[in-house]
């Protein structure tokens, strides 16, 4: 579904932030991306969703090249038309939700299907209501984002992304802006999506969640993938020293 090869990314005036990352995500797989603050997780996700241009490497979505690098080192993005199609396959849920404050919940969900995907408004509304039911917010269709709690906002953001029927859904710390009590609602929705075989990549600090829902966990540090594997292996008996330190830290926070 997604293949990343030797991806590099730096910002003007910074050292490389992502340095030679390669991995792939198979259809229906849920991958959790963990790692300390500043390790480049968000940057990686932004490169995959075309919010940042990469410096080197290649990304393939469903087999089609989104971006490749010529032997000369020149980075070649797919033509605009192709990129537009690829973009429709990718959904993203932001840490801060980024709902459109001037639209009702319903319109937040229907706006893109109607104006980007060209779906008839009636159909888009039906789809939106169906998604709202699924995330347990049918009664909030006419509310505005400022009237929602954090957990509700995040669930709407998920519905908004799902309405475009993406092939793969990215989450950047979907619960870290939420009070612990609100976190539960969002995690439940993600768990259900996983059960429906949605392909997902989740940057998260919720180790417990990563452990429970991910098929595979990738641990990143200093712009590189240090270790990856099933949750059992990665949490149970991490091979790498750095991973062990990081997870030890987590266990300490949890107070146990």
């Amino acid at each position: 579904m997604l293949r990343v090869e030797n991806l590099y990314k730096s910002f003007a005036g910074t050292e490389d932030v992502v340095t030679g990352v390669s991995f792939q995500i198979n259809e229906g797989e849920v991958v959790a991306l963990i790692g300390p603050s500043g390790s480049g997780k968000s940057t990686l996700l932004r490169c995959l969703t075309l919010l940042e241009k990469i410096d080197h490497g290649a990304i393939y979505v469903a087999g089609e090249p989104m971006v490749t690098t010529a032997p000369s080192g020149e980075v070649i993005y797919a033509p605009e038309a192709a990129l537009r199609k690829i973009r429709l396959r990718l959904g993203m849920v932001f840490q801060n939700f980024n709902l459109f404050p001037h639209f009702s919940v319903l319109r937040n969900i229907t706006e893109a299907p109607i104006h980007v995907a060209g779906m008839p408004p009636a159909e888009a509304e039906a789809l939106a209501r169906q998604l709202l039911a699924k995330i347990g917010l049918s009664d909030k269709a006419d509310a505005y984002p400022y009237q929602l709690s954090g957990g509700q906002s995040q669930r709407v953001a998920i519905a908004r992304a799902l309405a475009m029927k993406p092939d793969i859904l990215f989450f950047d710390e979907p619960t870290s802006a939420l009070d612990p009590e609100l976190t539960g609602e969002v995690l439940k929705v993600i768990r259900n999506l996983a059960a429906e075989q949605m392909t997902m990549m989740v940057v998260t600090h919720e180790m417990a969640f990563a452990r429970e829902v991910a098929d595979r966990v990738i641990f990143m540090d200093k712009g590189q993938i240090v270790e990856e594997g099933t949750p059992e292996i990665l949490f149970g008996r991490p091979a790498n020293e750095r991973t062990r330190t990081f997870l030890g830290n987590y266990n300490l926070n949890a107070g146990s």
Partner: protein, 224 residues
């Protein structure tokens, strides 16, 4: 008897001033009509990442805000025939010149307001729109601009209130409007009363402006 005569005279004056107010209103509405969209274009040019576009626009804004509007009025009326080379000279009708000068001047002010508004919209809104596949122009007109409008209502209302009062400047081009009528009456009757009646007219117009903006603010307060 005296009071009656006095009040008929007052009524007469109010009617006279009212006729002047029509010109005031015309220049007011035409200026808004042109300067509001033009200001948006200028703001976008000002924020563009191209120096060749950017620098002239900054200069334009500096001149327009840094020099008195009255000079700009004189300039746009007299300059085309005074400065241009022989064959190219032309003269705008005086009202047209006034509308041009006002629109270009106010567009500069509005541009800076738009810019502030646009820059205050969080980047996340653009990113969310981009990931959903909205084009740049869809993003701007569907997502960003509606939010900008809500945020810039207060400073825009300030400028509009100033515009109501600035309309009096067009008299320099020989156009008769509210304040000119009041001054003529003041001269003829040897009294400042007409000037203060004109003041009430301005106050009334600005009261309406305030109400309109209050209503707009209320209308847009459905979200935060």
């Amino acid at each position: 008897m005296f009071v009656l005569e006095y009040s008929t005279q007052l009524l007469k004056q109010v009617a006279l001033l009212g006729s002047g107010a029509l010109t005031t209103l015309r220049i007011f509405f035409l200026t808004l009509l042109f300067s509001l969209p033009l200001g948006l274009l200028i703001a976008l040019a000002r924020m563009a990442p191209y120096k060749w576009l950017n620098l002239p626009v900054r200069f334009y804004i500096l001149i327009m805000r840094g020099t008195p509007l009255i000079l700009q009025l004189i300039f746009f009326y007299f300059a085309p025939s005074a400065i241009l080379p022989e064959g190219l000279r032309f003269t705008l009708p005086r009202f047209t010149a006034a509308v041009v000068a006002f629109s270009l001047n106010y567009a500069a002010y509005f541009a800076e307001i738009y810019r502030g508004g646009i820059e205050s919209i969080p980047l996340g809104q653009y990113e969310a729109a981009a990931v959903l596949g909205f084009t740049k122009s869809q993003t701007f007109f569907r997502i960003i601009l509606p939010q900008v409008i809500k945020r810039i209502l207060p400073p825009v209302s300030n400028e509009v209130i100033t515009l109501v009062k600035d309309t009096a400047l067009i008299t320099v081009l020989g156009i008769t409007e509210l304040f000119r009528v009041a001054r003529n009456e003041a001269n003829r009757l040897f009294s400042t009363t007409p000037l203060f009646i004109a003041g009430l007219f301005y106050l009334f117009m600005n009261w309406i402006v305030t109400k309109v903006f209050d209503a707009a603010e209320k209308k847009l307060s459905y979200y935060r």
